[in-house]
C-alpha cells in the first residue's frame, strides 16, 4: 500500500506539471489577444502597441514561459491582465461558491442514485424497476441548464420560495441566504448527475445479484438483504467508486454552466469570462487549480477503491 501511495503521488505531480505546460502552450497557440478586451472601437494603432508592451504579451513566448514557471514555482499565480488583481486570492474568493456547490450536488446525487439504482436492479423483473431505469435514461438526455431553468420557473418565479439566482454579497457570513442561493443549483446538479449514476449503480448491483458468491451465501442460509449487506455491497462498491471519482470531477467542471444560469460568482463564471478576454494568468490559474482538484479526486477515488477491494493492490506488490 505504501509503495502504491508513493507511485500514485508521483504520478499525480507529474500529471499536474504536464497539464500546466500543455495548458501554457495550447493557450498561446489559440488565436487571441488580451489587449482586445481592454480596448474598444476608437483605439489607435499606437495605443494598441503601447498596451501590448505594457501587458508583456509582445515578449517572446520562451520569456513569458520562464517568467510563468518562476511564478508557479513560488506558488504565485500572477495577476490578471484585465483587472490587474492577483489571481490566487481571486480564485480563493470563488471557492466558497464552487466547492460547496459541487460537493453538495455530488452528495445529494449519490443519496438519490444509490437507493434508486439499487431498487432499479433489485426489482428489475417487476414494473417499477424498469420504470426507474427508464426515468434515469430520460434524465440523461436533459441538459443541465434546462433543468435549472425549469426549477427557477417553478420555485423562484411561481412559488417564490427561493431566489432565481445570485449569491449574497455578504457570502457565508449570511449562512441562511447562502444556503438559499445554492439550493436550486445544488438540486439541478444532483438531478442531472444522479441520472447517469443510477445506471451505474443499477449495473453494478445487477452484476452482484447474479454472482456466484451471492448465490453461495444464500445457499448457506443468508437472507438476501443480509447477503447483500455482507458480501454484495463491497463488491458493487469498487466499480461505483471509480465512476464516482470521474463524476465528481465532471460536476466540478459542469458547474460552469450552472453558475451562469444562476448568476453565481464561482470559478466557472470566472473561467468563462477569462477565456473570452484571453486573460492568460487567470485561465492558467483556474485551470491549474481545477486540474489539481480533478487529479486529487481521481487519486482519492483510486485509494478508496483499493480500500473497498484490496484485491486491486495485488498487482503492485
Amino acid at each position: 500500500m505504501v509503495r502504491y501511495l508513493i507511485r500514485r503521488t508521483a504520478l499525480l505531480l507529474a500529471s499536474l506539471a504536464l497539464a500546466g505546460v500543455a495548458l501554457f502552450v495550447l493557450l498561446r497557440l489559440l488565436p487571441g489577444d488580451p489587449v482586445n478586451a481592454l480596448l474598444s472601437v476608437g483605439a489607435t494603432d499606437a495605443q494598441i502597441a503601447a498596451a501590448r508592451r505594457e501587458l508583456g504579451t509582445d515578449a517572446p513566448l520562451a520569456t513569458q514561459f520562464l517568467a510563468w514557471l518562476g511564478d508557479v514555482a513560488t506558488f504565485d499565480l500572477g495577476s490578471s491582465l484585465i483587472s490587474r488583481l492577483p489571481v490566487g486570492p481571486e480564485i480563493a474568493a470563488r471557492l466558497p461558491v464552487t466547492v460547496p456547490l459541487t460537493l453538495a450536488g455530488f452528495v445529494l446525487a449519490v443519496l438519490i442514485a444509490v437507493p434508486v439504482g439499487f431498487l432499479a436492479a433489485y426489482r428489475a423483473d417487476r414494473w417499477d424497476g424498469p420504470l426507474l431505469n427508464g426515468v434515469a435514461q430520460l434524465g440523461l438526455a436533459v441538459p443541465a441548464f434546462w433543468v435549472g431553468l425549469l426549477l427557477v420557473s417553478v420555485f423562484a418565479l411561481n412559488l417564490r420560495v427561493l431566489p432565481a439566482g445570485g449569491f449574497p454579497p455578504a457570502g457565508w457570513s449570511d449562512p441562511a441566504a447562502s444556503v438559499e442561493a445554492l439550493t436550486l443549483p445544488v438540486i439541478t446538479i444532483a438531478l442531472v448527475m444522479s441520472a447517469s449514476l443510477i445506471r451505474y449503480v443499477r449495473a453494478a448491483t445487477l452484476d452482484v445479484l447474479g454472482s456466484d458468491f451471492l448465490r453461495t451465501a444464500r445457499a448457506l442460509g443468508s437472507s438476501l438483504p443480509a447477503a447483500m449487506w455482507r458480501h454484495g455491497l463491497r463488491n458493487a462498491a469498487a466499480p461505483v467508486i471509480a465512476v464516482l471519482a470521474i463524476e465528481l470531477a465532471t460536476t466540478f467542471l459542469g458547474a460552469v454552466v450552472i453558475e451562469s444560469v444562476f448568476a453565481l460568482p464561482g470559478l466557472g463564471s470566472m473561467l468563462i469570462r477569462a477565456i473570452s478576454q484571453r486573460d492568460y494568468p487567470v485561465i492558467q490559474g483556474v485551470m491549474l487549480v481545477s486540474t489539481f482538484a480533478v487529479l486529487a479526486v481521481g487519486f482519492l477515488g483510486d485509494l478508496a477503491q483499493r480500500v473497498a477491494d484490496p484485491r486491486l493492490l495485488r498487482g503492485h506488490r
Binding site: 488565436p31 482586445n36 476608437g42 490587474r84 470563488r94 427557477v152 423562484a156 448568476a263 460568482p265 463564471s269
Partner: protein
C-alpha cells in the same frame, strides 16, 4: 384520490409561498432605500483609462466620479466641477474655474493640479481610453492657481467641452485606480465582489447642492439575460439598465408591476463594408447591397415594435440628425440595376465576418437570404469579439462585417480614412474637420449634416437599424435615466416608494 393529491399539492404550495414572503422586512423606501440595479456589463477593472469598459462607465460615471462637465441624460452638456469657463477669441485657450468646497471621498480638497493630472491620465501614451485621440488637440495645461485650469489647444475644437464630460477628475494621490476609487461624486465606492456585485454608498459629505436621493445602489451583474430578467421578476433587482433580450419583454409588458421605458439610443447595428476592397470600393455596389436589404423587416423580426430605422450613422436626437431613411431605401429592382452599374451585374460572393453574439448571427442569416435575391452570395464567417478586434479592426482583413457601434457622436469616424472600414472621401474628411473647428454649434451641426448626407448617399456602410434603449424597472421606482447616453447610468435621483 386524485382530488386529495391536488389539495395536498395546493396546500404545500401555499405554505411554501407564505414562508417565502416572511423573510424580507427591512425598510426599503425613500432616502433609506438601496437601489438594486441589474446589468450584463460588469466592469473589467475600475479605471476608465485602463480598459474598465462599458461597465465601469455605467457604475461610476457621475455616481462616484465627476467631470468638469456632465453629459446629461437628455444629451446636453452642463457645468459640474467647472462652474464657469471662458474661451479665448481664437478658440484655442480654455480657462476653467473650479467649484468651491469640493472634496474627494478621501477628504482631500480638489485642486487644479488634480484636474491637470486627470486629463493627462486620458492623454497618456498608456491610456486605453477609446476617446484618447479626441483630446490630442491639447497642447498645454496650466494651473495658475488652485481653482483655475487653463488648457491650450493646437487647433479649435468645438467638442472639447463635450469630450471633457467623460474625463473623470480623480485624486492625483490615489495611485492605481483599477481596484479602488477616489472621486468627488454623490456616492463612495462600497465593495466590488467580482462576478457578482458592485455597491455604492451615499456620500453624505457631497459638495453639491443636492445629495443622492437614496442610501446607495448595488449593481448586480449577470452573464445570462434570462438570469437577469428572472432577478427582476423576483424583485432581487429593481431596474435593468439596458434590456438586450427582445423575447423577455413580453413578460413585463402585460404586468402593471413593471414599467418598460424606451429612451433615445445611440447604438447602431452596422453592416460595415471594407470600402478599400473590390467590389465594395464602388459606391454603386454598396448602394445595391443596402437597397436589397429590407431593414424594416429585419428590425421587426428582432425587436418587434421597438427600435428605429436610420438611414445613416446619426441617430435622432443629435443636433445634426436628418431623416435619411429614404436614401437607398429597400428596392430590389433598383438594387439589381445598381449592381450592373457597379460592374458586377452577374452577382458576386463575399465573406461576412459576423460576431458570434446576438443579434449578429440572426441578422447575418437574414442578409444572406435578402442578397440571394439579387444574385449576391454571402458566406457567413462567425467570429468571436476577440477575433473581430484582431482581424477586422486592427488588420482590416475583411470584406464586410457586422458590428454594433454604441458611441454617441461617432459619425466623425467617417472623416478618418484610416478607420477600419476604410471610407475615404476628401469632402467628408474636410467637412468633419471644419465642423470640429466651427465657431458655433449651429455651424457645426450644419457641416456634420452635410457629411452625414454624403456618407448616406454613398452608402459608406449600411446602417441596418438603431437599437432600442430599453430600461425596465419596477413601477415603484422613479427618477432613473432612460437614455443610457455613452453607457452612463446615474443612480442619484432614483427614488423607491
Amino acid at each position: 384520490m386524485k382530488r386529495a393529491w391536488i389539495a395536498v399539492a395546493a396546500a404545500s404550495a401555499l405554505l411554501l409561498t407564505a414562508c417565502g414572503d416572511g423573510g424580507e422586512s427591512t425598510p426599503t423606501d425613500g432616502a433609506s432605500a438601496i437601489i438594486n440595479v441589474g446589468s450584463v456589463y460588469e466592469p473589467q477593472n475600475l479605471d476608465n483609462t485602463a480598459g474598465g469598459g462599458q461597465g465601469v462607465t455605467e457604475a461610476l460615471n457621475g455616481n462616484v466620479y465627476e467631470g468638469l462637465f456632465r453629459l446629461t441624460d437628455a444629451g446636453t452638456v452642463e457645468p459640474l466641477l467647472a462652474t464657469a469657463h471662458t474661451v479665448s477669441e481664437d478658440g484655442l485657450t480654455y480657462t476653467f474655474t473650479l467649484a468651491q468646497g469640493v472634496t474627494f471621498h478621501s477628504g482631500k480638497a480638489l485642486t487644479s493640479a488634480d484636474v491637470k493630472a486627470s486629463i493627462e491620465r486620458v492623454t497618456a501614451e498608456t491610456s486605453k481610453s477609446a476617446r484618447r485621440s479626441n483630446l490630442s488637440v491639447i497642447s498645454a495645461i496650466a494651473t495658475p492657481d488652485d481653482r483655475t485650469v487653463t488648457v491650450t489647444l493646437s487647433k479649435p475644437s468645438i467638442s472639447f467641452v463635450y469630450h471633457l464630460s467623460y474625463v473623470w477628475i480623480v485624486n492625483t494621490a490615489a495611485g492605481d485606480l483599477s481596484t479602488t476609487a477616489d472621486g468627488t461624486g454623490p456616492y463612495k465606492l462600497g465593495e466590488w465582489k467580482r462576478g457578482a456585485t458592485l455597491s455604492l454608498t451615499r456620500n453624505d459629505a457631497y459638495w453639491g447642492a443636492s445629495k443622492a436621493k437614496n442610501a446607495g445602489a448595488v449593481y448586480h451583474y449577470y452573464t445570462d439575460a434570462t438570469a437577469l430578467n428572472n432577478a427582476l421578476l423576483t424583485n432581487a433587482i429593481d431596474v435593468v439598465t439596458s434590456e438586450q433580450s427582445p423575447d423577455a419583454l413580453a413578460q413585463f409588458e402585460s404586468n402593471p408591476l413593471y414599467t418598460i421605458n424606451e429612451g433615445t439610443s445611440t447604438t447602431k447595428l452596422l453592416l460595415a463594408f471594407n470600402d478599400r476592397v473590390a467590389p465594395f470600393d464602388k459606391p454603386q455596389v454598396r448602394k445595391a447591397v443596402s437597397a436589397a436589404i429590407d431593414n424594416a423587416k429585419l428590425l421587426t423580426s428582432i425587436w418587434g415594435e421597438y427600435g428605429t430605422l436610420i438611414g445613416s450613422m446619426v441617430p435622432p436626437g443629435d443636433p445634426w440628425y436628418e431623416d435619411l431613411t429614404s436614401v437607398n431605401a429597400y428596392d430590389v429592382e433598383a438594387a439589381k440595376k445598381l449592381l450592373a452599374e457597379g460592374g458586377v451585374g452577374g452577382g458576386f460572393t463575399f465573406t461576412l465576418d459576423t460576431p458570434n453574439y446576438d443579434p449578429h448571427p440572426t441578422a447575418a442569416t437574414f442578409i444572406k437570404s435578402e442578397l440571394a435575391k439579387i444574385g449576391v452570395t454571402v458566406e457567413i464567417n462567425t467570429i468571436t469579439s476577440d477575433e473581430w478586434y484582431t482581424k477586422v479592426y486592427q488588420q482590416r482583413d475583411f470584406q464586410a462585417t457586422m458590428q454594433e457601434h454604441v458611441n454617441d457622436r461617432d459619425v466623425v469616424w467617417y472623416g478618418n480614412p484610416d478607420f477600419y472600414w476604410g471610407y475615404s472621401n476628401a469632402t467628408v474628411t474636410d467637412l468633419v474637420a471644419q465642423a470640429e473647428a466651427a465657431k458655433t454649434e449651429a455651424d457645426q451641426a450644419a457641416l456634420l449634416k452635410q457629411a452625414n448626407k454624403i456618407i448616406a448617399e454613398e452608402a459608406a456602410s449600411d446602417w441596418l437599424y438603431l437599437y432600442p434603449q430599453i430600461v425596465v424597472a419596477s413601477s415603484s421606482l422613479s427618477g432613473y435615466p432612460l437614455n443610457g447616453r455613452n453607457s452612463q447610468f446615474f443612480v442619484y435621483d432614483i427614488v423607491k416608494s
